[in-house]
Symmetry: C2
Subunit: 231 residues, 2 copies
DNA sequence: TAGTGGTCTAGACCACTAT
DNA sequence: TAGTGGTCTAGACCACTAA
C-alpha cells in the first residue's frame, strides 16, 4: 500500500502508526510476513525495523506469540558515558588534572565488595582532581589492581590522565556502572571549591578481566552537572 | 580457521581478540569479506556482529576507511528507565501514592524553556508523592499540557498514577531525559522524610507530540537511590 | 503441533569517502 | 575512482512457545 523504502522508513511508519494510535499499547501488530507483503519488501527488512524498535523498548516480541506494542514505552535510554578530557575539550575549555595522592593499601569494605576482592588484597589508590580552564570540575577516586597492569603503574602520571591511560592499556571483559547523588564531604568541597554538603552527581564504575578485578572508580561531579540524552 | 557459529559467536570472538590485544585500540581490523572467509560464513553475518559492537561503542566503522577498535571503549550504556510502580513492586513492596496538589497555572521559565512553550501558555501542575510500603520514596513534580489530552485530566487521580495513565493514553514522538543531583529543599525534605539539604538524585524528562509539548516531569529520589546497569 | 520470530546464505547494488 | 561498509532480496531452516 504505502511505499516506505528501507528499514528506517519501515521503522518510521510503524512508529507513526503507534503514535497515531492505529496500534494501541498492548495490541498485537501484523506478522513480519504480512508487513513485508504490505510494504512490498523482504521479510528480513521488516525484521530489521521491528528488531530495532524492540531494542528501543517500543515493541515486545516473542516467537509464536507475535509482536506487541509495549505497554510501558520509553523504558530504555542509551547514554554516552563521557571521557573526561574529551568532554571538557568539547566545551572549548582547556583540560588539566592534578593527582591528589597515590598509595598502595587495603581498600575499604565497600570497594572490596564491589570488586569481589579476596580478603586482605591490596590495591593502588589514586585520587585525581580534573580541571577545566584550571578550575576543578571533577573529583576522581580510583582503586586499581596493579597485578593486571602489563608494566605496573605508568612512570609519569603527570602527563597522562590515569583514566585514559587505563582504557588504552588494559582490556576488560565486563563491568557495571551506577549513578547516584551524595552530599559533598568537607574534603571534596575544599577540592572542588564548593560548599560542604552540596549535592554531588556520582558515577561509579567497576571493571573486570574475566574474574579478575581491574578497577573501581568513583567520579564526583559538582552541582550543575547534567547527564542527558534524547529518546 | 576457528569455527564460531552465528553472529553472537563472531561477536564474542572479535571481542576476545580485542581483549587479548590481538587487535589494539585504534587499529584497523580485517574487512567484513576477509572475516567472513576466515569464519566460513556469509558477510551479512559478520556485518551483524560488527554492527552490534559498533553500536555498543567497541568498534568504529566508516565506509572505505574500514573498521577500527575504538580508542575510548565503553562509551555507551543502555539504562532501563524504571516505571515507578513496577520498580517498587519488583522489590516486593506495596506501591502507593498521594497527590500533594494540582492546579492550572503558568509554569516557571525553566519549564517553559525546556518545553519550548509560547509565552503565557498555561499548564496543569501536579505534584505527587510516591510511596513504598507506605513510606515516601519519590517526589514527582509534573507539568502537563491538558490540550493534548483526549478527555482532559482523568476524573479520579487517586486510582491511577498519573505517570502510568499518561504513557498508556498519550502518544509521544520525541523526548529527552537528564540526570543530575540537587540538595533537597525544606519542602522536599519534609515530604520525603529526610534532612533538608540531603542530596537528591534527579531525573528530568520532557516529551513532545511533534512540536506540541506534552509533559515535563522532575523525579526527586532520596539518598540511597542508585540507577545502575551492566556493560 | 503449528505459528511466529531469529538467523543464515549467496549474491547484488548502493552510499560514502580516502586516496 | 576504487575500496569498504550499508542494505536489500528470496529463500531456507531453526528455535521457541502458545494452544
Amino acid at each position: 500500500m504505502s511505499a516506505p523504502q528501507g528499514w528506517e522508513a519501515i521503522r518510521a511508519e510503524v512508529l507513526d502508526r503507534i503514535h497515531r494510535r492505529d496500534w494501541l499499547p498492548g495490541a498485537i501488530i501484523p506478522t513480519e510476513e504480512k508487513l513485508a507483503a504490505e510494504f512490498g519488501c523482504a521479510r528480513a527488512t521488516v525484521n530489521r525495523a521491528l528488531r530495532e524498535l524492540a531494542t528501543a523498548g517500543v515493541l515486545e516480541r516473542r516467537r509464536k506469540a507475535g509482536t506487541r506494542v509495549a505497554t510501558h514505552p520509553v523504558r530504555k535510554a542509551t547514554l554516552d558515558i563521557p571521557v573526561i578530557r574529551l568532554e571538557i575539550e568539547g566545551r572549548g575549555q582547556r583540560y588539566g588534572f592534578r593527582v591528589i595522592d597515590r598509595a598502595e593499601s587495603e581498600p575499604p569494605m565497600t570497594i572490596a565488595a564491589r570488586l569481589r576482592l579476596a580478603p586482605g588484597q591490596r590495591l593502588w589508590h589514586v585520587r585525581t582532581l580534573h580541571l577545566a580552564d584550571g578550575r576543578p570540575c571533577l573529583f576522581e577516586d580510583r582503586w586499581l589492581n596493579a597485578a593486571v597492569l602489563p608494566e605496573g603503574l605508568p612512570a609519569d602520571p603527570d602527563t597522562t590522565s590515569l583514566n585514559e591511560w587505563l582504557v588504552k592499556t588494559v582490556a576488560y571483559t565486563a563491568g557495571d556502572i551506577a549513578f547516584s547523588a551524595a552530599n559533598a564531604t568537607a574534603e571534596e568541597a575544599a577540592l572542588l571549591g564548593i560548599e560542604p554538603g552540596a549535592a554531588l552527581f556520582i558515577i561509579e564504575r567497576s571493571t573486570w578481566l574475566g574474574a579478575v578485578p581491574i578497577t573501581a572508580v568513583r567520579l564526583a561531579h559538582p552541582p550543575g552537572y547534567r547527564l542527558s540524552t534524547e529518546m
